[in-house]
Amino acid sequence: MNPVQVIEAARPEVGMMPSIDRRHLRERIFDVAMRAQSEHGPVDVASPNTRAANALRLAALGLLGATAVGGLLYSASRDTPGTRATPAPATAPVATSPSDPVLDTVAQAPVPTLAPTTTIAPVAGSDQSPLLLPPERNRLDALTVTRAQLGASALMLRAPDLSTISLFEVDGLAPEPDVVQDGDGEQDNDTEQDSDTTTPPPRQFSGIAVDQPAEDTPGRYRVQTPCGTVDVLDVAGRPQYRAEIVQLFDAIRVVDGTLVIDLPENWGAISSGPSTDEFIFGLPVDIDGRRVTITLAQYPGGSIAFAANDQLQYSPATFNGETAWLARDADDPALFDVVSMVGTTAIRVTASGISLAEAETVVSELTPGDLDEWTNRFGTLPVDVDPDIRTCVDQPEFRLD
């Protein structure tokens, strides 16, 4: 074994670059490239500074000089008393050898055009720039992209007691009948409740049946539907089947899978919309010397209903001049979620220990961007969208009457 072979045999196996470093560096690289492009414009890398190129430049300068001198001499010879000659455009052909490149030395006025001469700044939340991206070289704390769920949608309602209630439906298969073990060990598909199981029977309302919330998910009701699932989300700490929830369930009927909601008096629909892709990043910022992470979730083409689809209690607010819905954590009042719209994009900002105004400032300083910019900076989107299993006919959807 010779020394090179010894070195070869000792070749260390190194793993991949740590993903957080890899991602952070990618953002920096992209940022440097974008800055260089905006500061210096495109650089012609195909024209190295060679001796031949310099000779061409000298020849061009010489031709320019000769043309200028010729033009001056020509105009001087045409001068007459009392008149001021306008310098003729230097269009006279300059004697060149056949091997010389033909150079256009005439300064051409720009051709009139109706095309806009200024660059239009991207508008946040527009169809062209639906996303907000961090402008600085920040190391992001979190970065996830979740694809939209097929056929899912959300609805956000406000009850007369000003509590908010979220509804969420997802397309899917028909629910499986309960599987009950017989005494002989065989399985029977039986929709009747078995005496040994602890699951309480669904509660019947005028037009629907509702499964009881599970012990580990208080305030989460599931409406029985022919296909898919429909969840009604109330704040977890509220009494089960409180009056407003009962009033809502009494106002719902299922027609061929569609949940027709005849909103009672003094109820309001805050927002509704389909499931959309979710883009999340956690942005560390320094505010008054404190390091705070602001998490921004974005839903291009989304809705407040989808962005606020949880069991929090939202109150009306404004965020950067737009109508917003603010939820503060009951156990930690410094922690808040605010949901609003930026153009056609729904956003959800989560932060702790800062004011709403400070969060507004941070978000307003983000840079509008599109999907390509996101993937260029942060990598490609996950491609694993849910498989379409919607063979069931009566898929759920919401309809307000």
Binding site: V4, I7, I29, V45
Partner: protein, 216 residues
């Protein structure tokens, strides 16, 4: 180079550059080297020598130059070479029964340690050539591009380095170590030195000297 082109360049070559750097100076310093390389590549893209035929060769050249800032780290690692630095997950498990082991040092390990210590004493450009060829599997053309040497200098240099390392190891190891000290061993070198129309890159020894670096 615009943003998307920079991102493509990064995605395509970051693994190769990181692996090259991590093998030589460890994972922590490797991240710094990768960062230096790609930022420098974007800032100096317009000054890229026209005859750097491949992006990888160009990036390896910069990585090699930036690795000089970490020469001290590299030499320290080589002089205190630990066999555990090699991932043995695919190797046959070693006998761990203490009754079956003996206290004598493994001659293979001893040999590797001696060779690595000898490599630490080489000139930086000589280490560059050795590691580019032996660890990264670079052709002579790519090695020339990455080191700034002429392509026709690579093979003679390798031959000289083999002899030099043999001499160095011979003075420090016992006779039972199995290093081949015959001159004919050069002829059996399994390296691929056949390919390439790449020409050498004249790259400065350090593109952007860093006074804060640990270069020696």
């Amino acid at each position: 180079m615009n943003g998307p082109a920079a991102a493509r360049l990064y995605d395509e070559h970051v693994d190769a550059i990181y692996s090259y750097a991590a093998r030589r100076v460890g994972p922590d310093a490797a991240v710094t080297v990768v960062e230096n390389v790609f930022e420098h590549a974007l800032r100096r893209n317009a000054e890229r020598p026209a005859h750097t035929a491949s992006d990888l060769g160009w990036l390896l050249a910069m990585a090699t130059a930036f690795l000089r800032r970490h020469s001290e780290t590299e030499c320290r690692r080589l002089r205190t070479w630990e066999p555990t630095q090699r991932d043995t997950s695919r190797a046959i498990p070693r006998v761990s029964d203490p009754l079956l082991s003996n206290d004598a040092e493994d001659p293979t390990v001893t040999l590797t340690t001696s060779v690595m210590a000898a490599v630490a004493d080489l000139e930086p450009v000589e280490r560059d050539v050795l590691f580019l060829v032996a660890w990264e599997g670079c052709s002579s053309g790519l090695t020339a591009t990455a080191t700034g040497l002429q392509q026709n200098e690579i093979r003679p240099l390798l031959s000289r380095l083999r002899k030099e390392i043999r001499r160095s190891v011979a003075t420090t190891t016992s006779p039972e170590t199995s290093i081949d000290t015959s001159i004919d061993a050069d002829a059996t070198e399994p390296l691929d030195l056949s390919d390439d129309s790449l020409t050498a890159l004249s790259w400065p020894s350090d593109p952007d000297p860093d006074p804060d670096g640990d270069a020696t």
